[in-house]
Symmetry: C2
Subunit: 355 residues, 2 copies
């Protein structure tokens, strides 16, 4: 088992990474204030993993309640959140009952938020079952639901007591979802970990066949990277912005095509290529370095060319996402391969980049 410590000042916790964690209740049992949990999951994940987890817990004498939500980002809203809260109240769950999120980032974000606000806060454990959730959404304590006027607009910073990343669950992930998770993995290499980027270049074939050893290392190293950045900036006031590498472009792609047409990770992949090309424009990256980034993403089955949105639409979408200062938009770009930084692009530069 690999362990990543998330060293937050007031709520440190550990991420455990291994095969078979779902079927072993001991780590969970050790951190419950009361032998009672409510497991929140969705219909897809329930069919695959709920039985295993619930059985492991019940046979350790832990009372479990199951709350099964519909599957999909479109359900990450008030109504579904209230399904969780209603169920907790109907079953008289207490402030010491622990909420367990079993699923991808959607289940994790919503369940974490429910835990943050049920009776002003109950303990919360994450069991992420997508690659994206294992390497990204389970680190950092961001929880949220969407609002018709914006994604993740309502939420809280709320840390889990424990994260169990069971690598076995990644074997059943649809290929597109798996690749989307790899986009965030590659991102960590580009933010400030060149050795990891190079490791990914050497091990992409193993990762693409979901080799367990390669996966274990990639998940661990990604979590370490995110944990370090988050611990340095718990409330997102400084360096944490670097985690948004590729995201200003990526969010524009997602919103421009309509949410769900491209997966988030796919949009971020194309966004990182744009960030690399912009960095090249600024003289920070060489053409062969841009090509290395593109090639690695392609080997992960990710798109490297953004869709045509038209320049005006790009600008409109990006201005919604980010603050525009004197006509310049702030981006996360690359200072060199393996080191990102905040930088501004003006309209002429953006026009060249986006045609």
């Amino acid at each position: 088992m690999r362990t990543v410590a998330v060293e937050l000042a007031h709520a440190p916790y550990q991420i455990q990474i291994a095969s078979g964690l779902l079927k072993d209740a001991s780590l969970i049992a050790a951190c419950l204030p009361q032998a009672r949990v409510a497991i929140v999951t969705n219909q897809t994940v329930a069919a695959l993993y709920l039985e295993d987890l619930q059985q492991a817990l019940e046979s350790s004498g832990i009372r479990t309640l199951r709350i099964v939500l519909p599957d999909g980002e479109q359900y990450k809203n008030w109504e579904t959140l209230n399904q969780i809260l209603d169920a907790l109240l109907e079953h008289r769950c207490e402030r010491k009952t622990t909420l367990i999120a079993l699923g991808g980032g959607v289940v994790g974000d919503m369940t974490g938020f429910a835990a943050a606000i049920y009776q002003r806060g109950m303990p919360f454990i994450q069991v992420p079952t997508t690659l994206l959730a294992q390497v990204d959404s389970s680190v950092g304590g961001k929880t949220a639901i969407n609002h018709p006027l914006g994604k993740n607009m309502i939420g809280a910073f709320y840390q889990p007591r424990l994260v169990l990343a069971d690598l076995d669950t990644l074997q059943t992930l649809p290929a597109r979802e798996y690749s989307a998770g790899l986009a965030e993995v590659i991102k960590y290499g580009l933010i400030d970990d060149l050795p990891f980027f190079e490791w990914l270049e050497r091990n992409m074939a193993a990762l693409m066949r979901r080799d367990m050893e390669a996966l274990a290392y990639a998940v661990e190293r990604s979590c370490q990277n995110k944990a370090r950045i988050v611990a340095a900036d718990e409330r997102e006031e400084g360096v944490r912005a670097l985690l948004n590498l590729g995201h200003t472009f990526g969010h524009a792609i997602e919103a421009g095509l309509g949410y769900g047409v491209w997966l988030h990770g796919e949009a971020i992949a194309a966004g990182m290529v744009l960030a690399a090309k912009a960095s090249a424009l600024l003289g920070k990256l060489r053409a062969d370095e841009v090509a290395r980034i593109e090639l690695l993403l392609q080997r992960a089955d990710l798109p490297t060319t953004a869709p045509e949105l038209g320049f005006a639409r790009w600008m409109e979408l990006m201005a919604q996402d980010k603050k525009v200062l004197d006509g310049r938009i702030r981006f996360v770009l690359m200072d060199c391969l393996g080191q990102s930084e905040l930088a501004y692009l003006d309209e002429a530069q953006l026009r060249e980049l986006l045609h």
Copy 2:
């Protein structure tokens, strides 16, 4: 001006107590990260005080948005909370916009919760306009809304940046609401401040005519008491339980009669008398001390006799509110006049107390 410091480890703040604070934007201006606020209030309070506050802010160059909610505890729910969130999003308020609660505990609790969850947390200022809100709900960082299955079930611990208790606003408070606030004031004397209890005995006449000097002292001393207890137990795991003196009985009265028939403070007054009588049963208070408590509450125009609910109903209601351990219910009772403690009552004792 009187200042009470609430010394919380991670989010210390000050309560300013004086006349005329509403018309003076300087204290608010000094703590805004962005010259923009949204003021949340209700229709009743808006008619009385919104103009003053908004004008003071606008003439200091602060952009203000007004969000006026319907008046009443029955609106302390999801729907009204969403009115606040929708307005913030429609007007593109940012994470650095400050939310100001102008009103009683209902507005304060709901607005504080909205601030806690809007974009994962925005700055929050309380301008409490009821006596109860000035001495109780504005100290301690509890925010919440009600759920059909329970009061204050959904919420967060979230501290304001600043509390402005403008004593002038108390002059327009309906008499019943004013008395209800006095119940919580008297409670602080009984929890662990005998000198304050005795000061209240000497100054109740002045308080009942809403004398400004007496009020200033009573609000300050109450806030000091609550702030001390809360700072010692931010997350409500220990001594903070003493703040519930009179509340287990009081909640049963509120729920037994139907919420709103008796005001919370009225129910707590009768509840404190029951707590005093129970303490006498246990040999901790003398009859003349119980009588002093009753007399002080009566002079504040508060009820001292609980309504007839019937023993079975009392037990049912109190068991809902508190945990029953081996047939005994935990109460906050008095160890002596001016010092409360946790204690248990068994069924025979409760039967004697409640007939």
